[in-house]
């Protein structure tokens, strides 16, 4: 019986393999897409149909039908690979020889990797704080003004575009040309207008890191603004009124009422952006390719794993990335607990 099923599957596979794997023409690609969705719907439908008989089917089968696919996918695609990568990080570049902690030692002692770690630290300090600060200031400034909606949309829009697109936008701003030629990059044109020499924004170390970081701040500020704006609107009116009666104005109001009231939201925003920042590699890759001392852990992971072919080192960098995320998460959970206790 089971042999038969196996035979059928392999027969079906041979028949459809070319169609399923080698889509080259537009029509073929679209057809494949439709087939994939249909196939998925049929499989899920079959599972649901099988468990759709209350009283006849035991509870655990129903549970399996609902949660099974997700648990299976997560086990296969997240849990197992994560453990596997951790294991592989103790091996050499092609996974043939156990070398203990050597990859980690290299990562923390070799100068080129130390620069990578330093840059990552810089990113994870600057992006969350500045993006949150700008988002907060802007949210407060445009709150309840006539242009609130439009003003928010302006800041918000960068969130919709890809990091690659944003990197191209900013590379164009930073574009450098010899002082003898007319500038095409806005940043350098501004310098020229001010009577200064054009500057190699993306090449001159170590400040070039800051100019890359600015791109992610530009993207994340919209996220911060949205969450914080909602939090500000949720501050009870009586608190604001009482403070106004007490004579609080402008900066004082901001400092003593707004910020403390939205503290939990602030923590969430900062930690969320910090976690995003750690994983971002698109900006570095598109703008400098990790050259000129701008690489970060996420970019170095890609370079080591898929360009240099050093699987062991790549795995170690991925694990390091994971290890840096953990304190951020712990801080997040702690702060949330704290704020719940206060309430």
């Amino acid at each position: 019986m089971f042999e038969n099923i196996g035979l059928w599957v392999s027969y079906f596979w041979d028949l459809t393999k070319d169609f399923l794997l080698d889509a080259e023409t537009p029509g073929h690609k679209l057809a494949l897409m439709v087939v994939a969705v249909l196939l998925f719907v049929i499989v899920m439908g079959a599972i649901l149909l099988a468990v759709d008989r209350p009283k006849h089917v035991p509870n655990w089968v129903v549970t399996l039908g609902f949660a099974g696919p997700a648990v299976l996918a997560l086990g296969f695609g997240l849990v197992y690979p994560a453990l596997r990568t951790t294991y592989e990080s103790f091996f050499n570049r092609n996974g043939t020889e156990f070398i203990g902690l050597d990859n980690y030692v290299t990562a923390f002692t070799q100068e080129s990797f130390q620069i990578v770690l330093r840059n990552t630290a810089l990113w994870v300090l600057l992006v969350p704080t500045l993006a949150t600060f700008i988002g907060l200031v802007y949210a407060v400034l445009v709150d309840k003004t006539r242009f609130e909606k439009a003003a928010k949309a302006l800041i918000f829009l960068p969130m919709a575009i890809s990091l690659v697109g944003a990197s191209i936008i900013w590379r164009f701003v930073y574009e450098f040309r010899d002082a003898a030629r007319p500038q095409t990059g806005l940043a350098n044109q501004l310098l020229v207008w001010l009577g200064l020499e054009p500057y190699q924004f993306l090449i001159n170390q170590p400040l070039n890191n800051v100019f890359l970081i600015a791109v992610l701040i530009w993207i994340q500020a919209g996220f911060a603004m949205t969450i914080l704006s909602a939090a500000i609107k949720a501050i009870p009116d009586d608190i604001v009124e009482a403070a106004t009666l007490d004579g609080l104005k402008g900066m004082q109001m901001f400092r003593y009422i707004t910020v403390p009231s939205i503290r939990p939201a602030l923590v969430v925003v900062i930690t969320t952006i910090a976690m995003t920042t750690l994983k971002v590699f698109d900006i570095v890759r598109t703008m400098t390719g990790g050259n000129f001392g701008t690489s970060v852990v996420a970019n170095e992971f890609y370079a080591q794993s898929f360009v240099q072919g050093n699987a062991g080192m790549g795995a170690a960098l991925a694990v390091i990335l994971f290890l840096i995320v953990i304190p951020v998460v712990i801080y997040n959970v702690r702060q949330l607990r704290l704020s719940e206790e206060i309430r």
Binding site: D22, K29, P69, A82, W218, K279, F281, A298, L317, V319
Partner: protein, 316 residues
Amino acid sequence: MTTNPAPPQAFDKKTRGEVDGGAPPGMGKGIDQRADKARKKLSSPWASGIAIVIAILWTVPTFGLFVTSFRPVQDIRANGWWNFFGSPSVTLDNYRSVLFEGDQPLAQYVLNSVVVTIPAVIIPISIALLAAYAFAWIDFKGRSVLFVAVFALQIIPIQITMIPLLTQYVQWDLAGSFWAVWLSHSIFALPLAIFLLHNFMKDIPPSLVEAARVDGAGHVQIFFRVLMPLLVPAVAAFAIFQFLWVWNDLLVALVFGSQQQVSPLTVRLATLAGDRGETWHLLSSGAFVAMVVPVVVFLALQRYFVRGLLAGSVKG
């Protein structure tokens, strides 16, 4: 509001250009106060100054590239985009050449992006909906432990999964096909999707579910008849998230689908950007080709997106 929306809107439009005295009789006190406050805010020069500076910094870079994408190649090479306003000359040539000319026209990658994105949105949402239902409304042993585990998986950086996953795909002969990309995107989306949809499902009054159960409905019926209609906004919210994420993704596409017949727009753009030399006429138009779809989706469905954002991070 829904019963009589016209008058306030008209009032709003009328007063926008005027200075004062446009307040019609009988308008609510709230609107007056709001207007007062707005005027107060705007009269503080520092506040509006800072807001304007931020708004300019956030729009001018994009605007500059946008203008550039419509300038003739020789103009782009000759001087900066701000010169456009001195001697405007508009062309669509950049778009034509980036989309249809050369040995790797961008149009092909637009198609790849569409083919990659649609299943990568539908599949994880469906799987996550079912799992979220199980975690919210089916009683089983170890439910809370399993849910916390799924929730915790959110913090795993996807980088850590990539080498073993790729090895697996190679073994299964899937590497370099759309399947590898679809599967990876679906898996990576699950933890957040399950968490978000679970939160929304928990907000549905238990009495509704109980009533259906008393009527003899099984879990499948409850799921489709009672919960799904109420979950449309939540599904929309996550669908937009996932759509933007997949469409804009570079890492997953590079690792699992870098072959020309599979790779999406972002991969091609990153390659274009990597080529040295002055190809700004292609880069600028290419960037906007890639941006137009997510921006339109985003603007059209912004309401859902914001709701999703708030549910995702504030409830945390």
